[in-house]
């Protein structure tokens, strides 16, 4: 765990880049520093590997002040990725990646073997090992940058706007692969970005910085969206946060029914008896086959004999959000979404009205909870005799939200 204890950085010219920042970056998680340009994100990141030394407060890694350690040794144990990759143009890709292993005096073969493994991991062709950075695209260079940071398998990775300089399509790809890698590696990652969407997508925890080096809020992405600490955060998140939030309400909350679901061998009469416009037909294994409209039901026989309309998208009850369910419902011929389990078997059906009701209820519950939290915080602040300004800023709102995300 990385701990900031009242960290302040005042540059010699008087600029205050960090103003009394206290924050924890939990082990094995992605903590994203987000905020306006000049908000001190980069400075905060660089205090962790001593590229910047605080003028006040302390930065601790697993309880130990980073200033106690020799900076070059400290840095060799911390992966470092920057915006324009900062590759060494005179070194081949494999030697770029093996930089830290060489510094640690691994033998050349082991260092290169590691580099080749990492190239594969980050999705680079083995043929690129002997190439030079100028022969690579921006996206490929960033991959090399990530591989280079991972080479000595450091437990901590610092990433400063690593995907900001590539085009949106490549950025999306890199983000996806980054999440996939992290799911395997479980590094303690501090990730700086100015892009709130990237922060929400990648962060287990998000720390919002504001000009003047003030930390405004630390919370899970869900909580940042649901309960922005102040107008600054709300403004930064933007107006479409309502839509973004749907992504965080799990589909397990969706009300599912088995109404008008019939096995393929059920008699047509059963469907008629139910009287619904659409019947979902499933096989003996409970796999959805398609929708049968009342109009196409044959006069007799089984519902499986009907010409079925395709299901389109189903949603995964475990992994998907209510938003995915709503999308599925909107695109479905019946206006209803089909929820399946991991094996693709039917769990239940939800219609648009039910899903909307779920969302409304979730939002209302969050609002009530937020009120309770802020009332509690205010009470706590009053009891502590603390500066009331601190109640809404700092990392206090995160306290109730720690377990969220990931």
């Amino acid at each position: 765990m990385i701990t900031f204890e009242g960290v302040t950085k005042r540059y010699p010219d008087g600029t205050v880049a960090l103003d009394d920042v206290s924050l924890e970056c939990p082990t094995g998680r992605i903590t994203v520093f987000v905020g306006t340009s000049g908000g001190g994100k980069t400075t905060a990141l660089r205090t962790i590997n001593r590229m910047v030394e605080p003028t006040g407060g302390r930065v601790l890694i697993d309880g130990r002040d980073v200033l106690e350690r020799k900076s070059s040794e400290l840095r060799r144990g911390i992966g470092y990725v920057i915006q324009h990759a900062g590759l060494f143009p005179h070194r081949t890709i494999e030697d770029n990646i093996a930089t830290v292993p060489y510094l640690l005096r691994w033998n050349r073969k082991k260092a290169r073997d590691t580099a080749h493994e990492l190239m594969e991991r980050v999705g680079l062709e083995p043929g690129m090992a002997k190439r030079y950075p100028f022969q690579l695209s921006g996206g490929q260079q960033q991959r090399v940058g990530v591989a280079r940071a991972l080479a000595a398998d450091p437990p901590i990775m610092l990433m400063d706007e690593p995907f900001s300089a590539v085009d949106p399509v490549v950025r999306h790809e890199l983000q996806e692969e980054f999440l996939r890698l992290q799911a395997e590696l479980h590094k303690t990652i501090v990730f700086v970005t100015h892009d709130i969407d990237e922060a929400i997508k990648l962060g287990d925890r998000i720390a919002v910085f504001r000009t003047g080096g003030r930390l405004v809020q630390v919370a899970s992405p869900e909580d940042i969206l649901a309960r922005p600490a102040d107008d600054f955060v709300a403004g930064f998140i933007g107006h479409d946060r309502g839509i973004r939030r749907l992504s965080f309400i799990p589909a397990t909350d969706a009300p599912l029914t088995e109404r008008s679901v019939l096995a393929a061998d059920a008699p047509v009469a059963d469907a008629r008896a139910a009287g619904d416009e659409w019947t979902l037909v499933i096989d003996a294994d409970r796999r959805p086959l398609g929708w049968a409209s009342a109009e196409v039901l044959p006069a007799s026989g089984t519902v499986g004999d009907a010409r079925l309309a395709p299901i389109g998208h189903t949603f995964d009850i475990e992994g998907d959000s209510v938003r995915a369910a709503l999308d599925a419902a909107i695109l479905s011929p019946s206006g209803r979404a089909v929820g399946v389990d991991g094996a693709g078997r039917l769990v239940g059906v939800a219609d648009q009205a039910d899903l909307s009701a779920t969302i409304t209820a979730a939002v209302a519950a969050e609002a009530a909870e937020a009120e309770a939290v802020s009332a509690g915080a205010a009470a706590g602040a009053a009891a502590d005799g603390a500066d009331p300004k601190d109640a809404g800023s700092g990392d206090r709102p995160a306290a109730g939200a720690d377990g969220g995300g990931g």
Binding site: M51, E73, H84, A85, F88, H90, R91, T99
Partner: protein
């Protein structure tokens, strides 16, 4: 036209005369002397120019001083410098070497300094952030990345030295300059032109040697993207 043809004939006659290839006044001996002074001067100039260029470029301190010194040094006429040194230190090898060294320092110093200073800030930041020490950054990142410019500085210096080492003949030190000085004294233009041609050929060879060196020691990763000089 005829004139030029005559000259060429004269020079080739001079060059092919067997006297030119033997003894103390032969080309091989003079060439060795010339290379001796030139090489020593280049070595001293390189030691001083590289050391300060690397230091100032790496620390970023004293850059203005370097640029100013180099400009002043460039403005000093070589002959004047030699006369000054000879006046102060007397006749001998040392003043000549000092003068040639002083002449060669500015291009080496300035190019080294500019080369180091121009190294991509992101590459330096990454190097430091990955745990290279100050020396590590200098040797593993800055110097190799500045190598094309460093070599350019050395090449410029070497060619200047080779051409200017002819002045070593004035204080009686031999070298290829002897032909020119003696030829002028004796009104023997054949000798002057012959000596000049040998010096020019030497300069061309130096140029070729540096071109080869560049291909050998500069990373392909630096040559591929852009072609400085």
């Amino acid at each position: 036209m005829n004139d030029l043809w005559n000259q060429i004939e004269l020079v080739s006659e001079w060059l092919s005369a067997s006297a030119q290839w033997h003894g103390d006044d032969g080309i091989p001996h003079r060439l060795l002397q010339h290379l001796h002074y030139s090489g020593l001067s280049l070595l001293f100039a390189a030691l001083i120019g590289l050391a300060f260029g690397l230091l100032v470029g790496h620390t970023g301190r004293g850059g203005f001083l370097v640029a100013s010194l180099a400009n002043i040094a460039r403005a000093v006429p070589t002959i004047g410098l030699i006369l000054l040194v000879v006046t102060v230190a007397g006749l001998g090898v040392t003043p000549v070497l000092v003068a040639l060294t002083a002449l060669a320092i500015p291009p080496i110093l300035v190019n080294t300094f500019e080369g180091i200073r121009g190294v991509d800030a992101d590459a330096k930041d990454a190097a430091q952030g990955m745990g290279m020490t100050g020396w590590g950054v200098l040797w593993r990142v800055e110097a190799p990345m500045a190598l094309p410019l460093i070599l350019l500085g050395l090449r410029t210096a070497a060619i200047q030295i080779v051409a200017t080492a002819t002045i070593a003949a004035y204080p009686g030190l031999g070298g290829l300059g002897r032909y020119i000085v003696d030829g002028l004294a004796r009104n023997d233009y054949e000798l002057v032109i012959g000596g000049t041609v040998v010096v020019v050929v030497l300069a061309v060879v130096v140029q070729l040697v540096f071109a080869l060196l560049r291909r050998l020691v500069v990373s392909r990763g630096l040559l591929g993207s852009s072609r400085p000089s």
